[in-house]
């Protein structure tokens, strides 16, 4: 389980962001998490809460938006949603999709702060 390491990196980044803006009172953290990121959503939520303890983010809430897997189909020349995360092919023409467009994100999108 590497979600704790990820949660710690995430918190460090948010605190850095907060410091650079003169200290923010963060209420909600919005994270975009790809289904192909290798990170488990529930484990990350659990780890986040633990890792926040004693930091300026203690009591903040983590909201995770799941980003679907999208591949580029070179035959259809379009972005496509594959049938599953273990079948990276175009749902229309069946061609294998070698290029991943979305699904690998682990990204803090925004922060909700007390104004």
């Amino acid at each position: 389980m590497h979600e704790l390491s990820i949660a710690i990196s995430m918190i460090d980044q948010i605190l850095e962001e907060s410091d650079s803006r003169g200290g923010l009172d963060v209420e909600v953290v919005h994270l975009r998490l790809g289904v192909f990121s290798g990170v488990d959503k529930d484990a990350l939520s659990f780890a986040y809460e633990l890792a926040c303890e004693g930091s300026a983010l203690e009591g903040s809430r983590l909201e995770i938006e799941t980003v679907p897997l999208v591949i580029y189909c070179a035959v259809c020349q379009k972005d496509r949603t594959p049938p599953s995360v273990y079948q990276l092919s175009c749902p229309d023409c069946g061609s294998p999709g070698q290029k991943i467009v979305t699904g690998k994100e682990i990204e803090v999108a925004s922060l909700e702060i007390v104004a």
Binding site: I14, F36, G38, Y86, E107
Partner: protein, 228 residues
């Protein structure tokens, strides 16, 4: 009390990714071909690496970093092939990251190393999120594990460049369905090169040596062009 939104758009893995990129540039500059190895525990990473090191050491300078939660056992095994082996003991951490690799390289002169292998902690989940700066990543799957491993762990297979099916000498006894394994690999990582090997008998190893030599030659080509 009101709240407001602040846009951040910060990649959580940024620090690791930046460090990995710097390492990759350094490896290229020094002309070292760096290969990462990932697999589940017990899939034969160390036996495969022993064979790789011994085979390549005949005409090349080789080195290895090996990650494990505990013990120096793997490093001791690999030192039979080359003295240039360092163990990275991660404690409780289930993967290597770029910083551990950078630290483990301390005082090594990379320009005197042709091939450097980085054996990750045996784990098919966590290492997929961490770029280590390697030029190629090998994912190993043993014939005794079952052919559906790629479907169960698509992320690690997709984050790798080459698949190595190990323990082929046991394939028949384990009723391993090679065609299904190849199909499953193709499904999660279309176009991936697949090698079948037995570290025990040495079968299939030559093809891997050829791939690595070709990779090293390619890596050094721009340098030759630059010095001309």
């Amino acid at each position: 009390m009101s709240t407001r939104m602040v846009e951040v758009r910060a990649k959580v893995m940024k620090q690791n990714d930046l460090l990995a990129r710097a390492l990759r540039e350094r490896f290229r500059k020094e002309g070292t071909c760096v290969v990462g190895l990932v697999s589940s525990p017990g899939s034969g990473k160390t036996a495969f690496l022993e064979k790789l090191l011994a085979g390549l050491a005949v005409d090349s300078r080789v080195a290895a970093l090996v990650g494990d939660l505990a013990t120096e056992n793997d490093a001791a095994r690999l030192r039979r092939a080359t003295p240039n082996v360092r163990q990275i003991t991660t404690g409780t951490v289930c993967h290597l990251d770029a910083q551990m690799v950078e630290k483990a390289l301390e005082s090594w002169q990379l320009d005197r190393i042709d091939f450097l292998f980085i054996e990750n902690v045996g784990n098919l989940v966590c290492p997929s999120s961490y770029d280590l700066g390697e030029e190629l990543r090998f994912v190993l799957l043993s014939a005794t594990e079952g052919e559906d491993k790629p479907l169960k762990y698509p992320t690690i297979f997709n984050s790798s460049d080459v698949a190595i099916i190990t323990k082929m000498d046991l394939a028949q006894a384990a009723e391993f369905d090679l065609a299904a394994a190849r199909r499953n690999i193709e499904s999660v990582r279309p176009g991936m090169q697949v090698f079948e090997v037995s570290a025990k008998t040495g079968a299939g190893m030559q093809a891997v040596f050829d791939l690595l030599h070709a990779q090293l030659a390619r890596a050094r080509q721009p340098q030759l062009a630059a010095t001309r």
